[in-house]
Assembly symmetry: C2
Homo-oligomer: 254 residues x 2
């Protein structure tokens, strides 16, 4: 049995709480957060607390909080022999350097308020400053997922950067699509199956192989038509920039 104190009340904390709660080998002894009302998600099944001085002893303290808060909040965990981990892709192991036993437990996923997702196939990237603690994190990870991987701080930062492109910037592409539809009174929801299949097809093709569209084909007439339709200047500039990038990306092959 691994005993866990979970610190945080956001989407990652809530998803981890739900996931751990379903596992026999893990006991969430306590959930800590600054604001009592934000702890309601855990109230029914475990101890909730707003006062760090009342921290319970546990094998593991999981900081599911924003990057900026990791260093300062970790300082409030005192006199413990437990392993302290954060759940952030963008923060180094060093962020917890005041603790003898520190680690990272990073579920590589986007978490949405009120949406509880399955951890089963979700990569959990782990790191620790000694092999014994790494083994504890692997054991914990494997209670949730079949895809627990050792990833150094350096490589985790690469994953986090790549995630900005495939998640944040991709979502921004969706929002431009929505904007163009709204401006022209077209139902954006018609694009949902296309959006999901574009993501899903990467299971069988690499993105470079999967690239299609007027820019890839060098279809100047469609490119021209699209530039005439787009009303906002910054969207036109982005359309041109990305089309040229795709052209040169695929032109290199010739």
């Amino acid at each position: 049995m691994i005993s866990v104190v979970l610190i945080g009340t956001g989407n990652v904390a809530q998803n981890l709480f739900q996931a751990f709660s379903k596992v026999n080998d893990v006991e969430v002894k306590q959930v800590i957060g600054r604001t009592k009302s934000h702890l309601n998600f855990a109230r029914a099944t475990t101890t909730i607390e707003t006062d760090f001085d009342k921290l319970l002893p546990a094998d593991l303290y999981v900081l599911a909080i924003s990057d900026d808060a990791i260093a300062s909040v970790s300082m409030r965990i005192k006199e413990t022999n437990g392993l302290i981990v954060h759940t952030s892709g963008g923060s180094s192991l060093e962020a917890l350097s005041i603790h003898k036993r520190a680690g990272v437990f990073y579920p590589l996923q986007t978490f949405t308020k009120g949406k509880i997702i399955s951890f089963e196939n979700l990569p959990i990237c782990i790191e620790a400053n000694n092999t014994k603690d790494l083994e504890i994190l692997r054991k914990l990870g494997e209670t949730l997922s079949n895809r627990v991987v050792n990833i150094s701080t350096e490589k985790r930062k690469i994953l986090h950067l790549a995630a900005v492109f495939v998640n944040n910037f991709t979502n921004y592409m969706y929002s431009i699509g929505e904007d163009i539809c709204a401006e022209n009174e077209v139902d954006f929801n018609l694009l949902q199956p296309l959006i999901e299949e574009t993501a899903h097809k990467l299971n069988v093709l690499s993105p470079k192989e999967a690239q299609t569209g007027p820019a890839k084909r060098g279809d100047q007439q469609t490119l021209q038509t699209h530039l005439e339709i787009i009303k906002k200047k910054h969207q036109r500039e982005l359309y041109t920039l990305l089309s040229n990038a795709i052209k040169s990306n695929h032109g290199e092959e010739l």
Copy 2:
């Protein structure tokens, strides 16, 4: 029973062929293509033909071919009373203007070589120049999908433009993510669940609501770290441009 001659041998043609073949109310009488070997997908269950002079009579001729070829290939369909449709998002109904009975039957999806997908929830956008033919296309569409919608040429072009953002440009974001991973010897496949969830969460949130990341949060430190990691100049420029766009998009709300 609706009889269909399918013209084309690409991914759309092959997917439509498979989909129609499963439907009792539709008979694919013939598949036509320029190259005999490309017609193998249909050989076992229908007539295949490379010679347009041997076109069979049918209720409907479906041109599942590239935009550039629509006008010229449609001219090769002579002396028919059938309804002639193309399957393109980017082409107007006018592209078939030499025919009395013309229409559009546009399945809004990305089709991949060798990957047969379900049409069940896939929007099929239809258009015709008279209500009787529109009714035929609706009937045909409803044999495949529960989401058949009347869309004018003008609105279909908007959808096609929005599709460039949510499909082509999104895929380009994936390819940059892959590139950054490859350069740093990190497994891009670790990002697959994130990629799929980013697409899937639009079922519950709009893209604007779903936006997350360092640019949205105004997290200058992470933005700076990422710019230091990115090796390629054009990727750095794109990172800055998209981050600024997200900042200003969300700054407007303040």
